[in-house]
């Protein structure tokens, strides 16, 4: 027979178990994302979660890794490298079990002549929510967007805040810069043009959907991909919309790639588009059957697209197309979906995967043959 005592005790126990289960279901910070990948043309940089690393494809060796051991912070924003300085933000780390506060940091590392990188500065005071967007380095300034809606301008030497501007929602894309103006695409559906020196708003333009990637700069026009199924072309001076294409039903996530007056982009429905950059007129389309969330990469008249292959266990594909007509040249499967835009380093196309045994894979640009792959040493896992 059940004793009456059992009920409150049981209830307390069950609630405690449920709450512990809840905390086990997900951490207080959403600290998962795909790795951020970038290059300075020589090294490949990868923010893969607990650490950020630089890999030298020529030597096929890791150049450096930071921090040396995991600190609890998570890194997924693609590092920005320029003039030997590498800047990136983190997703923040909690203040402990009894503190709801989250500290988000921006880091700058100085790469040495020999292998390794030393910490130049850390800014822990100006970002209040995770940094998803890659930073942009322009001269002695660093610009980066945060998930708490701000675009920050920092002094590249000291990390001190110069100005910040608040948009209506999170910023996930890397800002773009030209002639003293910073162009920022926000998830709040708007594009902002700011004075890079002061942060003063020059113009803003509201579009039909959230803007998950940074703008692509063209000849007097800037192009932004949108969840409304379009790439929008805006006048760089006024923000006025010139055209929007292709009005598809699917989100256009990755920033368009621009080459010789043609824009290339894909949507998450799997269609690849080539449109005239001046008019938005369609040149060709290609049905890939795979969700495209990355930006295409153009090199030597070939278009490279990283995508996801829907299956019970999703996989990925790296595919090359002829830029002229969209004909498929080759395709290589990957064991995990490809979410990050590939980078080109010399004659290799580098992708990052979510497979611990192949954080980075280098493919031959010409034929897609795998050249090398990199896995973390066991001690770093």
């Amino acid at each position: 027979m059940s004793r009456p005592l059992a009920r409150p005790a049981l209830r307390l126990l069950l609630i405690a178990a449920a709450l512990f289960l809840l905390t086990g279901c997900g951490s207080r910070l959403a600290t998962t994302n795909w790795a951020g990948l970038s290059t300075d043309g020589r090294l490949v940089y990868l923010a893969f979660g607990p650490q950020v690393l630089a890999y030298d494809p020529a030597a096929q060796a890791q150049a450096w890794i930071h921090p040396a051991a995991s600190t609890g912070a998570a890194f997924f924003a693609a590092p920005a490298a320029a003039d030997g300085r590498v800047v990136f933000g983190d997703y923040g780390h909690s203040g402990g079990l009894f503190s709801p506060r989250v500290t988000v940091s921006v880091y700058a590392l100085q790469e040495g002549d020999s292998a390794g990188a030393s910490q130049l500065w850390v800014n822990t005071s100006d970002a209040r929510d995770k940094i998803v967007a890659p930073a942009l380095q322009v001269g002695e300034q660093v610009f980066l967007g945060t998930a708490d809606n701000h675009i920050l301008a920092l002094d590249a030497t000291s990390g001190r805040l110069q100005w910040d501007y608040q948009t209506g929602h999170a910023i996930w894309g890397q800002p773009a810069f030209r002639d003293g103006t910073l162009y920022v695409a926000s998830m709040d559906h708007s594009v902002y043009a700011l004075d890079a020196a002061t942060g003063e708003l020059k113009w803003s333009q509201a579009l039909g959907g959230a803007l998950p990637s940074g703008p692509t700069l063209g000849d007097g026009l800037l192009y932004v991909s949108s969840f409304d199924g379009n790439v929008h072309a805006l006048d760089m001076a006024t923000g006025e919309e010139r055209w929007a294409a292709p009005s598809a039903d699917n989100w256009v996530w990755g920033a368009p790639a621009l080459l010789d007056g043609t824009l290339y982009f894909g949507d998450i429905g799997g269609t690849l588009y080539a449109v005239d950059a001046a008019t938005g007129e369609q040149k060709w389309t290609q049905e890939t059957q795979n969700a495209i969330q990355t930006s295409p990469v153009v090199s030597n008249d070939t278009l490279y697209v990283a995508s996801q292959v829907a299956a019970e266990t999703p996989t990925g594909a790296l595919t090359a197309y002829n830029v002229t007509d969209g004909t498929q040249l080759w395709s290589e499967p990957t064991t995990t979906p490809l979410y990050a835009t590939p980078v080109v380093v010399e004659d290799a196309l580098v992708v990052s995967t979510q497979d611990a045994n192949a954080l980075l894979i280098g493919y031959d640009l010409a034929n897609g043959q795998e050249l090398w792959r990199y896995a973390l040493p066991q001690t770093s896992n």
């Binding site: 009920r7 209830r11 289960l21 959230a210």
Partner: protein, 293 residues
């Protein structure tokens, strides 16, 4: 399976309410909370009544258990006579058990919708039913006053309000044990008294870790629970008054208190002792199911 049955419907319900309530996520959470409480109201009321009822009957239950330790059949008969059904002990846990999937589902729904990372958004897309136009709803507004609904409250206000509101709710649901009764006399009441503090502390602590959106659910659910508790208390008081008017007595209470008084007297010498039958003396001796009105 879990996602299909619990998490995804909650995600879609929240997005639907968000869409219809001026794209205000706090209102969406409030509406869903009220809906959940309405759906679980009959079970909750039954559990709360059963809890209050069992605690009132605890002296009788203890006395019967002691008296008929060697005669289980008679014990059952006497339990039935005073209006206690041991099976209620387990059935009373059902509302609590039902709350778990709701709580965990809501936690997952809130963190998925308010996920401020590209991957979180990517994971949201396949969960949304085709009838909902996600493009118009993305990004879901996650700011409310000083709060980022996807993060814990940085200035401790919500954890404190969660603690206070849950404490008030627990206090309402936990009748004070009769005067002079120790935890040994009434272990259930003792446990309930300790739960009155531990539950709010536990939820307050977890509010330090959970997204503010979930803390808001806790607070709203507690406020509704408080209103529900006040209503229930009023009904129980009226029932007590009716029983008192009918002159119903609680023989086991009288018997127990008499023997307790006797033993106190013999222990203290000629101490002052009264066999006092408090207002509990008129407490229920009703038939099973009479709680329903």
């Amino acid at each position: 399976m879990w996602d299909t049955l619990i998490v995804n419907p909650m995600i879609n319900a929240l997005l639907l309410f968000y869409n219809f309530l001026g794209q205000n996520f706090i209102l969406a959470i409030a509406f869903l909370t009220i809906l959940i409480r309405i759906i679980t109201l009959p079970l909750n009321l039954k559990q709360q009544r059963s809890m209050m009822h069992t605690q009132e009957l605890q002296p009788e239950i203890n006395a019967i258990q002691k008296k008929y330790r060697d005669n289980p059949q008679k014990m059952q008969e006497e339990f039935k006579r005073v209006g206690y059904n041991p099976a209620d002990t387990l059935s009373g846990c059902i509302p609590t058990l039902i709350q778990f999937p709701i709580l965990i589902g809501l936690y997952r729904a809130i963190t998925t919708i308010l996920g401020t990372t590209p991957q979180a958004l990517f994971e949201l897309v396949p969960r949304v039913y085709p009838a909902i136009n996600l493009t118009n709803l993305i990004p879901v507004e996650n700011k409310f006053m000083w709060l980022n609904l996807s993060q814990p409250d940085p200035i401790f206000v919500l954890p404190i309000v969660v603690f206070v509101s849950m404490f008030i709710q627990q206090k309402l649901l936990t009748p004070a044990p009769p005067k002079g009764q120790t935890q040994q006399d009434n272990p259930t009441a003792g446990m309930s008294q300790s739960m009155m503090y531990t539950m709010p502390l536990m939820f307050g602590f977890f509010s330090l870790q959970f997204p503010a959106g979930l803390s808001i659910y806790f607070i709203l659910a507690n406020v509704i629970g408080i209103v529900q508790g006040l209503y229930l208390q009023r009904i129980m008081n009226r029932e007590r008054a009716e029983r008192a008017a009918r002159g119903e007595t609680r023989p086991y209470v009288v018997e127990t208190e008499k023997s307790a008084a006797k033993s106190r007297q013999s222990a203290n010498g000629a101490g002052e002792s009264k066999t006092k039958v408090t207002n509990n003396s008129t407490a229920p001796r009703r038939k099973k199911g009479s709680a329903k009105r």
